[in-house]
């Protein structure tokens, strides 16, 4: 299912005038999932950053503005849902 969605998204971006490499931030406390998503997204031409928890995400967002953030919802300390709410409050991140 993830593969089909990525192919559809890629076709969409190929048709647009914006050929800049899209940046994706993947957040998951499971290193297997981080590696899996990194490999999958890179193979589809995306530039990938990864983070294992909410604190790491905040650190990354100090200097990076990804186009898309993919986050697991079930994580210790800061859940994915809570993380999304925190990110939405950041002025430069409201359109991500």
């Amino acid at each position: 299912m993830v593969n089909q969605n990525l192919e559809t998204a890629q076709k969409g971006s190929d048709n647009s005038s914006d050929n800049r490499q899209k940046k994706v931030l993947v957040v998951d406390n499971n290193p297997v999932m981080l590696s899996f998503m990194n490999n999958l997204l890179v193979s589809h031409g995306y530039k990938v950053s990864t983070a294992e928890d909410g604190l790491a995400v905040m650190k990354i967002l100090e200097t990076e503005r990804p186009d898309v953030i993919i986050t697991d919802l079930i994580m210790p300390n800061i859940s994915g849902e809570k993380l999304c709410r925190l990110i939405r409050k950041m002025p430069h991140m409201k359109d991500v």
């Binding site: 993830v2 406390n29 499971n30 290193p31 297997v32 999932m33 590696s35 899996f36 999958l40 079930i74």
Partner: protein
């Protein structure tokens, strides 16, 4: 299996090795979490195993983990230790098979 998840064989085997390594830790954590009756921790930990097993195409483990996850989410730990032991057994088999594949 690698093709089914959109990875080449080397990538898949590397991920499988990481899955085995992390699952050993998670399954050890689960033992004490279950003994302590901490359903929340069981839920968070088994979620990790379930997600990774699903994405790597290992239904023998993901199906067991899924049931555990759903029960732990409802604060039910009945049968959790048996399920955990079942996962340990499946992981042992997976480890043996992956070693055969590497060699």
């Amino acid at each position: 299996m690698a093709e089914n998840v959109g990875l080449d064989e080397n990538e898949y085997l590397q991920l499988l090795a990481l899955f085995i390594e992390t699952s050993i830790c998670y399954l050890n954590e689960l033992k004490s979490d279950i003994r302590n009756g901490d359903a929340r921790k069981v839920y968070e930990t088994i979620h990790n195993i379930r997600g990774a097993a699903e994405n790597l195409g290992i239904p023998e483990m993901s199906e067991i983990a899924k049931v555990m996850e759903l029960k732990a989410r409802k604060n039910v730990l009945e049968g959790a230790e048996e399920a955990r032991e079942n996962l340990v057994e499946k992981l042992g088999y997976l480890t043996a098979v992956s070693h055969l594949r590497y060699n």
